[in-house]
Each structure stands twice: as C-alpha cells, then as structure tokens.
Symmetry: C2
Subunit: 232 residues, 2 copies
DNA sequence: ATAGAAAACTGAACACTGTTTAGATTATGA
DNA sequence: TCATAATCTAAACAGTGTTCAGTTTTCTAT
C-alpha cells in the first residue's frame, strides 16, 4: 500500500551496511586489517556479531569492499598527482611515485590490495577493478608518447613496459611496508633510484618478452583510443 | 655420578626440539604458514600443545627459526646458480634470477622471509641474517667488477645498486606469489624483462641517491675484502 | 484493532586459535 | 627409599569466524 516503506527499509539497510563498513574501515586503518574482528565491528555498531551476516556473506566480503575502496582512493591519488603535469615522461614519473607514495599514506589499504593473500577474491578479481581500466590506460598512453618523442626505445610494448614499471615500484613499496630495510635506509631514495634506473633503461634498446594480458592493459588501450576519439 | 646422563638428556631435548621444527616445517610447506597451529604441531609429534612451550618461547620463535632456515636455503640456492658462471655480469644476472626463482620453489619460505609482518622478529633482525653477510658481498663484488669493465656506469655505488636490483626482483616475486597477474601473464618473462631493463639502465649514467646501511651491505664489502686477503 | 507473515536481531553454541597454570607423572641423585 | 628435579598433560582463558534456533520487532491484510 504505502509505496515508500520498501524504499525506507532499503535505505535503512544501506545505512547499516555503511555503518558496518565504516566501523571496519576505522578498525582496519588504526589497528591493521589483521586485527579487525567481527566482534569488534559488532561492538562499534552496537549489534550482535551475527547481525553482520545478514549484510555481508563473510568477513572476506567486507575486506573485498574495502579493497575496492582502496583502488578508488589510489586512482584518485594518482590522478591528483599527475593532472597538472604536461610532459608525458614527467607524468609517468609522478604517477609511479604517487603509486609508491600511496603505500606510505595508506599502508593497510596497500597491503590488502597488492600483497595480502588471505582474501582470495582480491587476487581472483584483481584485473577487474576499474582502477586498471582508467589509470593504466593513461599511463600506457604516456609511454606511447615517450616512444614517439624518442625518449623511450622504439621497440617497446607500452602495456608490458607499464607492467614492468609497476612491478618495480611495488617491490620498493613492499620492502618499506615489511620493514626489510636497515634503520638508517630510506625507501624513498630507493624508490627514486629504481624509477630513474628503469626510465633510463627504457631509453636504451631493451626488448620485452613479457606479454601483458588483453583484459587489463591492452583493453585499457582501447579505452584511451575511445577517449581520444571522443575529444576529437 | 654418571656423567653421560646430562648429555643424553640434552640430546633428547635437541631431538624433540628438532621434531617440533620438522613437524612445523612440513605443515608450513604443505599447508602454508598461515595454517600451522600449535595443536597441529603437537598432534604430529604426539605431545600436548603445552609441551612445545618448554622448547620454544612462542609460535613466533618457531617461525623465526624456519626463516633462518629459509635464508640458508636461499643462500645455497643462489650460490648453486652462480658458482660455475665466470662472467661477473652474468653471475649477477643468474644470482638475481635465482633469487626470484627461489620465490617459486619455496613460496612459503619466501613470504615468511621477505613479505610477512606477523613475525616481528624477522623484520627486526632482518639485517642480521648471515645470508646478507656472505651472498650480498659477492654480488656487490660482481657489480664492482662490472663497473671496472665499464659494463656499468662509473659513478655507481655497488651497495646501493645491489639494493635496487634486489628490490626490483622482490617486486616481481611478490606479484607472482600474491597472484596479481592475469591468468595468461607470465611472471618469469616479467622477471627477465625487469632485470634486463635494470642492467641496461646501469650502463647509462644513472645516479644513486640511496645510501645502503653500513651494517648490511657495506659491512659485506669488508667481508669480501677479508676474503680476497685470505686467498692472497 | 488483530492475526499472520516476514524481516531483523540475538544468545548460545561449534570448532578453532595461542598461551598459561596447576597438577600429575617420570626420571634422577643421595 | 625418598626428595628433588625435569617433563609432560588436562583444563582453562580469552580470543577468532560462523551458524542456527528462537525471540523480538515490523509490516501487511483482513
């Protein structure tokens, strides 16, 4: 009869769902994601632990949603770092440094997104995060521009090159997070050096044997092509 | 009176201690270190869980010992890969590929040694593992040789350069372990490409701002100097 | 307003986890 | 033989994710 009731109920459900995520996020950021428990979340929202299970299938589902959040945050962070950089090479540089920087600003998100194996869904659906569709497309376009400007070697596959750069920065990020450096050592300097080394290497005639998958990096190329077409 | 009793008791203690480590290692390798529990270890050695605590202060202590084992294994693996390679640059290459390869042969050890944060002692004492004293010294010496042969740029700091190479390979190893690649993508090719890229970069005049700590990499230099002196 | 249905929530339990402690058992030394 | 010392265990504590029977609340239709 009253049409608004279903909607109000749905709004209420969404509100509680969001409260669960907020509680999880706060615990996650302050205590580390290893120290988030269903009972702690339940305490925060003043519900019983069992109640959460009518909003999320499992604890992993909550973390998966937080990971998605992390990918959105990361995309924003990188876009914010490169949007006013006109030069393709510098934009690439700043973008990759921003990727590394994200691991320091949001270590918990970063570990969940790129390192952790306890939430299998994140590994499984890794390529599906829209982060890749948008952000990597722009980065690949910058690499292409660098090749055209002869700043990078001609035989370079942009998608493969991006993958390599990304993996390198991931390595630095992780030794920083996992604290596998001596007290005096500066991971920032390491990040800088590795990045410059890789960029310098791309100006020589290195060949790539790695083939980046269609669904992620090359699909992103199509997206940029479409983007260029739209702006034409 | 009977002098041998204390010794026999100590032997027995050592035997049981070793049995605990063996049980832990087997569970660790087959089920993953996240799935090793004190109760499972206790079941295997047919003792009560509490008994283990008179041989190890905590579960972390067991894992720390397994990590030490891992570092010995890794050192052996790398030495085995490079011992018959005469050329310094190739030796460096093979050594770094062996480091990456170790992450595939012993993923559980690798994650425990280089990624995991749940055993704080491993992060804390990371630089003290003898692995660094020996293996990194030889790698740094190879880098020095490459510089002398003008295969690498002159201004290079061998310790810093090694750190950079190591971190790069660590990145590839981790995306492999954490399965952050699309199904078709080959982490081996990625490892190869990144390594060649970095080596190519070192032949250009890149500058390093990173300062490797005394206690780990530079201390290793001293060890190699001593080594050279001993063989003279 | 009231009965019935549906949705929401809880208490208690299950099977785990690392760790501690008091007590029982066994081996040793005089 | 008897006390001491070493060794091992049962039980418990506080925590974990998850499930389920049952209660409470909310909505719908008469």
């Amino acid at each position: 009869m009253f049409m608004g009731i279903k909607e109000r109920q749905q709004r209420e459900r969404d509100r509680i769902r969001e409260a669960i995520l907020t509680a999880a996020r706060e615990l996650f950021v302050s205590d580390g994601y290893r120290n988030v428990s269903m009972r702690k979340i339940a305490d925060r929202i003043e519900y019983s632990p069992a109640a959460i299970y009518s909003y999320f299938r499992s604890k992993d589902d909550i973390f998966f949603e937080l990971a998605e959040e992390g990918f959105r945050k990361l995309a924003e962070h990188i876009v914010g770092a490169v949007e006013r950089v006109p030069d393709p090479l510098n934009r690439l540089r700043q973008g990759l440094l921003a990727f590394y920087g994200f691991s320091k600003i949001h270590p918990e998100y970063f570990e969940l997104m790129f390192v952790d194996r306890s939430v299998p869904q994140i590994s499984q659906d890794f390529q599906r995060f829209e982060f890749f569709q948008a952000t990597t497309a722009r980065a690949a376009a910058d690499i292409r521009a660098c090749i055209e400007r002869t700043e990078f070697s001609a035989g370079l596959d942009p998608a493969a090159a991006l993958h390599i750069l990304w993996v390198g920065m991931l390595g630095v990020a992780i030794i920083g997070l996992a604290k596998r450096l001596a007290p005096g050592e500066d991971p920032d300097a390491l990040a800088h050096d590795l990045l410059e080394l890789m960029l310098a290497g791309f100006s020589t005639s290195v060949t790539t044997t790695f083939v980046a998958s269609e669904c992620a990096f090359h699909a992103a190329d199509a997206l940029v092509a479409k983007d260029a077409h739209d702006h034409a």
